[in-house]
Symmetry: C2
Subunit: 218 residues, 2 copies
Amino acid sequence: MSEVDQPGSAVVELLGMVAYAELLAFDRMAADARLAPDLPRRAVLCEMAAVEIVNFRRLANRLGEHGADPDVAMTPYETALQEYHELTEPKDWLEALAKAYVWDGIADDFFREVAAFLSPEDRDLVLDVLHDSQYEDFAAAEIRAAIAADPKIANRLSMWARRLVGEGLSQAQRMAGDRIALTILIVEGSKDQAGVQALLKRLTAAHTARMAAVGLNN
Amino acid sequence: MSEVDQPGSAVVELLGMVAYAELLAFDRMAADARLAPDLPRRAVLCEMAAVEIVNFRRLANRLGEHGADPDVAMTPYETALQEYHELTEPKDWLEALAKAYVWDGIADDFFREVAAFLSPEDRDLVLDVLHDSQYEDFAAAEIRAAIAADPKIANRLSMWARRLVGEGLSQAQRMAGDRIALTILIVEGSKDQAGVQALLKRLTAAHTARMAAVGLNN
């Protein structure tokens, strides 16, 4: 077990964050399924939620292999992520889908960037559990169809997406301040401050492209 | 396709009911997971919920093989089952577990009895998707531990269980009146009115035994 493998180490902090994010993604998709306009759509969302829980188990097992208690590794993220979700409770089906589309997109990009700094085994696991494009495609198709049917929806959902990003950023800053090992990993992995800025720019550019792809304004 | 396979036939009515019950079980367990006192228990419930959705998909696919639209086959159960769950919203973790324990126990017994009247392929599928004992064991252990820690809980949960059965029976009667083919299957499969009475007696006896097994009074 190298130093990076110790409980409280960067890899444990990252796996703990991704594991808790999967658990919350399950919870949120299961709740959002109730907002579905019909049974087939509801079933699709339930099935996508179930995938998250399978991924959660793989991450929890990997945390165990690192000698970490999954429960302890996830706890530091509980308040910030729970608060984010409570502050951004979707009011309807489209808000729920837009939230998953926007937030999962940014989170997955972030996890993908950080995974590159891990050992091949941990990196491959994280890359493997990131949301597959099936869900993104489903959400994007629903949002596009809704905007095509009523163009006014684009404005409402654009505002909603901006609020999601704003709340998300403030919770992320809060988490970064507390997760020292992970923050150091990101800074060291990015080489220097300019590298971190470049990472943030890549995340922002990808988010802007995703918004444009479904007809939303940044 | 024999007559029993037609949409609106007994097998489609039963598979539709079990499929919708699985979808709702997923929904309910996912919501109940939020009531869990800690992360490990929350994760267990989420994982058990995910199993329901895999079962749901198998039933929906089988409905398709029978030439039935799963959506159409499930719709007749939506109001009654949704209403049951709304009327029996658990207030805490123990009420949630007791509800799953009591209700899944009765529903599984019922589905098992009716499955015996189906073709071997449909029968085996239904038997296969019924809740495995893992969940029942988990719920039973939690209830027993809570009663051991505070015997007064037994009274509260016994009352809760009686309410669940009462609400469940009134919704079941409502459904039976509407599902003609399924009701005929049960009556014919049971041979006669005495056979149906015997079936109901078996369900009641099994429920009473389950209640006693965790220290609850019927």
